[in-house]
Amino acid sequence: MKTLLTAAAMALGLAQPLFAADYPAGPVTVVVPYSPSGNTDVFMRHLAPYLEKAWGQPVLIDNRPGGGSMVGTAQVAQARPDGQTLLVTTSAYVTAPAIQPDLPFDPREDLIPVANVGHVSYILVTNATSDFDTLDEFVAASKESPKFAATAGLGTTTHFAIEKFIADSGADVDVVHFKGGGPAVVSILSGETDIYGSSVSSAGENLTSGKIKALAVLGSARIDAQPDVPSTAELGYPDLEIKQWVGMFVPAGTDPAIVEKLNADVNAALRNEEFIAKVTPLDWTLNATTPEGFAEQVDSELDMWKALAESQGLSQ
């Protein structure tokens, strides 16, 4: 509430009247709430030069890691709503609030979604020596002897993805949290856990070398990187449309015209051939969204994860 008031006060009293045509008036700071060299940071560093070219202003990337991305997010929620401070974060924006009730900002009120820039798909993988080859066999095997699922950390998208799968399939699976995707993949390699919803990039090398096998791609369609792996929708789970996305946000109170301009400029940069060539090897699927469309997505995912966290007993 306090943040809301502050934001409102700033919007009314302090912000200079700005016109989208003049935007941006100075250097633009993009807050990335993750460490340098993480997936999100790398993506943003590739994108920044194209935005600089479009705006004729320097784009500064400000890494503010901490609190599972919530530290940097909270900071932008309290920034001046003049479009000079942007947030580029992941779907942790919608998953973290489901298990962290005491966030110092309201994800629906304090920030405005601008654009969903891209996503990474998840594939369910298991050790190559596991005695199940399909998702159905896994669910059946789990009912005979309970299985373990690895996650890249509590409250991460990999965690929610597997919880959603458990809820939808009725498999008997205990969830074990690891710190990051690397250790989670190793736990699959060592056979310590049985299933993990991995991004293609973190599983890729082990998949091609045959040390781990893929059971399904989470979502409605197969992916180009693993064309032989069935999608969960094909296998009879229509509601597992779960992606790790990256999106841009601005503080609440930002002029709608600036939001529109940001959305248009970002979408234009995402269509740049040179940029596409740089990020496709990193397994990104690029999106083109409107601010309204992205806002709806954020809204419905906030609801979905909140409900899942409650039904699976994850929230405190």
């Binding site: 890691p65 309970p146 710190k179 310590e192 091609t208």
Partner: protein, 514 residues
Amino acid sequence: MEFLANIGLGFSVALSLTNIFYCFLGAFLGTLVGVIPGLGVLAAISMLFPLTFHLEPTTALIMLAGIWYGTTYGGSTASILLNLPGTPANAVTCLDGYPMARQGRGGVALFMTTVASFFGASFGIVLLTLFTPVIADYALRFGSAEYFALMLMGLVAASTISEGSAVKGLSMVVLGIIIGLVGMDSQSATVRFSFGVMGLLEGVSLIALAMGVFGVAEIIMSVRRVRTADIDPETLRLKAIKPSRDEMRRSWFPMLRGASIGSFFGTLPGTGPSIAAFLSYAIEKRVSRTPERFGNGAIEGIMGPESANNAADQTAFIPTLSLGVPGSATMALMLGVLMIHGVAPGPNLISSQPELFWGLIMSFWVGNLILLLLNIPLIGVWVRMLTIPYHILYPAVLMFICIGAYTSGFTVLNVWMVLVFGALGYAMRIFGFPGAPLLLGFVLGPLMEEHFRRAMVLSRGEFLTFFERPISAVIMALTGMILIWSVWSAEIIRRRRAARAAGDGATTHEAREG
């Protein structure tokens, strides 16, 4: 002959002019950063990381790796001459290196640690080259139960390092664990001891803690003592750096043991060079026939740890390059460099990017040779840096500490934490509480908890899992033995002291037992 072809390929990459230049640059910057206390390797790599965006991935890694192992070489200089660890991995070198410097043998200590560093690193590189695939498979057998057992062993071993009162050492381990509890717990997202501060959700910064307790506290102590540079330039001339025959003889086995310990702990995530150095020191003191010399300038006390931390620096690349699992924050940055260039780390890295893998490893030889050649003639230069008047050096170091703390998390909160831990460290010094167990408790505590709870989930709540899994059971048994051994030897010392107090006649007899 494929092996030789790989080595050849590696050298052809590592010996290109560009790569030699960046290797030299990395090693030189690393040494510089290592010599300056407070400015750690993580801070240095974080700051220089963006510079490598424009380099080839192999070249970028070669340079960053040079900084990484260069700091450990340089770090011993400040430990020995100022009693101020250049990096946490060199903390234990203070215990005997500084007394050596006070005795006018600083030159010998600097020369010998360079030799030990080179020996440890060479040992590590050979292992890295020969056993990367083997060790990768073997690391896969380490599950959460094994990691927990191993860390328990680390803490038990560490509590025997602490100088003076065992109670004080143990209390510092516990305090370290408590500080380590701050933040969000990884298995249930419960926030502990954060007092509503968002920045504390991720926990207390290791860098802030280490810089505060070891760096700031030392500076306050030194300012209070108003000590002028007591480095006698005479002891650092080329003639004076030659070790005696006896010192050479004593150094051989500690170096070998240190290199073995370091190589082993380097491969395990979460342990790394600092812990390897601490353990090596503890073991040297244990196996020594004259443990009372430790802390008073025993050459074994610098050779073992310096060999161990450099070996660990090299073998830390084994899990990073073979499995894509970084064992430390620094290794995570190295992985980041790979990923930013679109190279996916994993078991296939060696076959899919042989020129990167072998080039990087062979560059370690180049880098270590550069460091050996750089350090011995340049000992005088590094030392002169440390004879800068303290009213200039200390504020500069404090500034570097603040920069380092800030860049480690890009938050001002870390700078405040340095201040708090500096005050804590100063108080600890005054009351004679050791800093090393605090640091170790802080690092190992949260990891132990994480692995313990994960092991509990995986065993479905069965405590016996730690004794049923063979590797874990062996480590647990070793831990028990260390515990019994340390209690027993403390008892021996106590008896010996009692005997000594009773009469002088008993001393010669008792000495044989120790």
